[in-house]
């Protein structure tokens, strides 16, 4: 133990001596200085006159954005692939097997570079952008999509949506009570979906459709208007999602296979239809097996998003750990900040997944 403390004291002493020798001080004052570099994708207001701290915040948001989108796409794709892998359609399950094996045995960095390369080299210039229904434009500078613009009165639709959700929840609780008391089953899912979609739609139409889509248009040199997604963001998002979905598919498969065959047979013996068996009996049990490894895949995806630096997506490593570090020469401070930010990302995700895991865990009596 004493050895360990001696070791720490020794390396800290070394660091102090080295910093002194280089004439550097250990302080975080540089965060207030102007960053004087541009960032190609900013979710908040940012100019090159903004401070390093602001640049750091932009980086954090960019990392969070790609991680969030990636987690959602990877989960959806992973569940679909995992279920197809188990289906009794031989051809589809083989194809998915090949996809999974190929995807997870190739480094994620290669996926990112490959997809980015394809986007930059094979998509046309913005001038000849491929248009999908005159709404979506694919070009090597990015993908342009229509942007929603909310006019006055859209608030009514939002309010109607909120009321519909609450009404659906109340109805669900009431239907469950009725089912427990009398055994009468209402088509809860259909009615809830109907209410949640229908009510806001009616209000939307009555209040005079207060929503306009701003379409991207072909300008003189470039596409203008709409939302532009950078090829860097798209490549990173798609590559991380594909890569992680292959792992999630295997997790889902093993989770479903871990459920005893007797559960299928028991549910069948009770007369539950096959597609309801999956929903009512198998998935709730499989989730318990699936959630813990799924959480670590989410963590991996978030950490892998740091590879953004290889294609120039400005995430946290590229902003504060890259350009800021180069400009200010504050290796120690910037690296400590980056490490702490990733640690807190990891802690937040694992705290959330632990909470969810506890909620669905088997309550043993």
């Amino acid at each position: 133990m004493a050895l360990l403390f001696a070791f720490f004291a020794y390396i800290i002493n070394n660091a102090v001596l080295n910093l002194q020798a280089l004439g550097k001080t250990f302080s975080f004052d540089f965060l207030q200085e102007p960053a004087s570099y541009d960032i190609n994708q900013t979710l908040i207001e940012y100019t090159s006159r903004s401070s390093h701290a602001r640049a750091m915040l932009v980086g954090i948001l960019n990392t969070a954005l790609v991680a969030f989108c990636g987690v959602i796409l990877a989960t959806v794709l992973g569940f679909i692939l995992g279920v197809i892998r188990l289906s009794n359609n031989w051809l589809a399950s083989r194809i998915v097997y090949v996809f999974i094996e190929f995807t997870r045995n190739v480094p994620v960095l290669l996926h990112i570079l490959l997809i980015h390369g394809i986007m930059v080299h094979f998509l046309p210039l913005p001038k000849q952008a491929i248009s999908v229904g005159d709404a979506l434009f694919l070009s090597n500078r990015g993908v342009y999509a229509p942007r929603p613009e909310f006019l006055d009165g859209f608030g009514f639709t939002v309010a109607a949506f909120g009321i519909a959700v609450i009404a659906a929840l109340v109805f669900r609780r009431w239907a469950k009570k009725v089912q427990e008391d009398t055994g009468k089953i209402y088509p809860v899912f259909l009615i809830c979906t109907g209410v949640i979609i229908g009510l806001p739609l009616i209000v939307f139409l009555i209040s005079g459709s207060p929503l306009v889509w701003e379409m991207p248009k072909m300008g003189r040199f470039n596409l203008q208007g709409g939302v532009m997604m950078l090829p860097e963001f798209l490549a990173l998002w798609l590559a991380l999602s594909f890569y992680t979905s292959a792992f999630i598919a295997e997790i889902v498969r093993s989770g479903i296979m871990a459920i005893n065959k007797g559960q299928w047979e028991a549910a069948g013996a009770l007369g539950i239809r096959r597609n309801r068996v999956l929903q009512l009996v198998i998935i709730p049990q499989a989730l318990r097996v699936i959630i813990p490894p799924l959480a670590s895949q989410y963590l991996n995806l978030t950490k892998n998003s740091s590879l953004a630096i290889a294609i120039g997506y400005m995430d946290i490593v590229a902003t504060i750990g890259g350009i800021t570090l180069m400009q200010t020469g504050k290796e120690m401070e910037t690296m400590i900040i980056v490490l702490l930010i990733y640690l807190s990302f990891s802690l937040v995700i694992s705290a959330f997944m632990n909470w969810y895991n506890k909620r669905i865990a088997l309550v043993e009596r």
């Binding site: 051809l91 589809a92 045995n105 290669l110 950490k303 290889a310 490593v317 120690m332 990733y342």
Partner: protein, 371 residues
């Protein structure tokens, strides 16, 4: 069946006829496995359509319409409109050895051959003279280091920044794998220890390593680690990278092994205690052999992940096989061939990682002693 045929056979003489084609045979197989229900049929048709769209185009690009010879991209384009494999062919040496001096490349080859010799007794247990061979395996890292770097025994000194290509991937991968296993075991045991300080240090280390991405650790190795050594000392970037990669892998290894340790019933620990074994004896003889066996799939997965992660060294400016490919694209003669390079590297990684995962399946089967 006609009534006249019913008594055509003596009792007990009726031949065994094959099952009707509606329950057996290829037609039945196709019917149940591909067109069992409406959704199934739709799925099959969709898959066939996708295959029809993708496979011919891919085969065409990769093989039929590909150019295998030539000295520039123009040559390739003159021959065929598909892939330009001549690019990979002319640079194969670079892909394998990086910038290692040409006259000294026999040393890399020798190291690779010796690696196979060193690995054989670890991977298969029916190797002749296994005991002696294992001593060689233990000494191997030292021999490999001397061979590759040189500077003594009349071998010419080769600076480590000339290492590159596939060679660099293998060096980092093998070092990480070899050293992370023992460190991981120590960390896992430390995490289960009764000494609170030791436990806290191990937990903090493991959680820290697992909480940050490898590339930030590589950045730390590149820009920050030199602050923590005595002033004036300067140690090699490759060594710093190897240390970081090893520490990174051991954090993950520790968790995998902890899983194995937790799967061992308490009775095994108690039985070892009641035999009068000391802590290390009981670990070495009873607990670890069982725990490691359970942890094999996880250990191999960690190895595969580490091996794939060796490509990340390009973010701190070292050119591994992927980095070499990427930097070759800057050559004006060959510009715009990124797909070829990435496909080549992807196939290479796929083959090596797939073989590793197959080996893990083989090992699991071999060690499966249950019923």
């Amino acid at each position: 069946m006609t009534p006249g045929l019913v008594n055509a056979y003596e009792p007990g003489e009726h031949p065994d006829w094959p099952a009707p084609s509606s329950v057996k045979g290829p037609m039945h197989w196709i019917k149940t496995n591909l067109f069992g229900s409406v959704t199934n049929t739709l799925l099959t048709l969709l898959t066939i359509y996708l295959l029809y769209k993708i496979i011919p185009a891919m085969v065409d690009w990769m093989f039929i319409d590909a150019a295998y010879t030539g000295t520039s991209r123009k040559d390739c384009e003159a021959q065929a409109s598909g892939a330009c494999w001549a690019f990979i062919g002319t640079r194969l040496q670079l892909f394998i050895y990086g910038f290692y001096p040409e006259a000294e490349r026999w040393r890399v080859n020798l190291t690779a051959v010796l690696l196979v010799v060193a690995l054989a007794p670890v991977l298969y247990d029916n190797v002749p003279h296994r005991g002696k061979a294992l001593i060689f395996t233990v000494l191997y890292p030292l021999i490999a280091g001397v061979l590759l770097v040189g500077g003594i025994f009349g071998l010419e000194y080769v600076a480590t920044d000339q290492f590159g290509g596939l060679m660099l991937n293998v060096i980092i991968g093998v070092t990480g794998i070899a050293f992370s296993l023992p460190i991981g075991i120590c960390l896992a045991l430390g995490r289960q220890s009764h000494l609170p300080v030791l436990r806290i240090v191990c937990v903090a280390f493991i959680e820290f390593i697992r909480g940050v991405p490898l590339i930030t650790l590589l950045f730390v190795a590149a820009v920050m680690l030199s602050y923590f050594v005595p002033p004036g000392t300067n140690f090699d970037l490759l060594v710093r990278m190897l240390i970081m990669v090893t520490l990174f892998a051991s954090g993950y290894m520790a968790e995998v092994i902890r899983g194995g340790l937790q799967a061992i019933p308490k009775g095994q620990y108690e039985a070892a205690d009641s035999m009068g074994l000391k802590y290390w004896q009981s670990m070495r003889l009873i607990i670890l052999p069982q725990a490691l066996k359970i942890a094999i799939p996880g250990i191999v997965n960690t190895f595969i992940a580490l091996y794939k992660d060796t490509t990340l060294v390009i973010v701190i400016g070292r050119l591994d096989i992927l980095g070499i490919g990427r930097s070759s694209l800057a050559d004006s003669k060959w510009q715009g061939l990124s797909t070829e390079v990435y496909v080549f590297v992807a196939i290479f990684f796929f083959i090596s990682c797939f073989l590793m995962s197959r080996y893990s399946l083989y090992l699991e089967k071999k060690l499966h002693t249950g019923h």
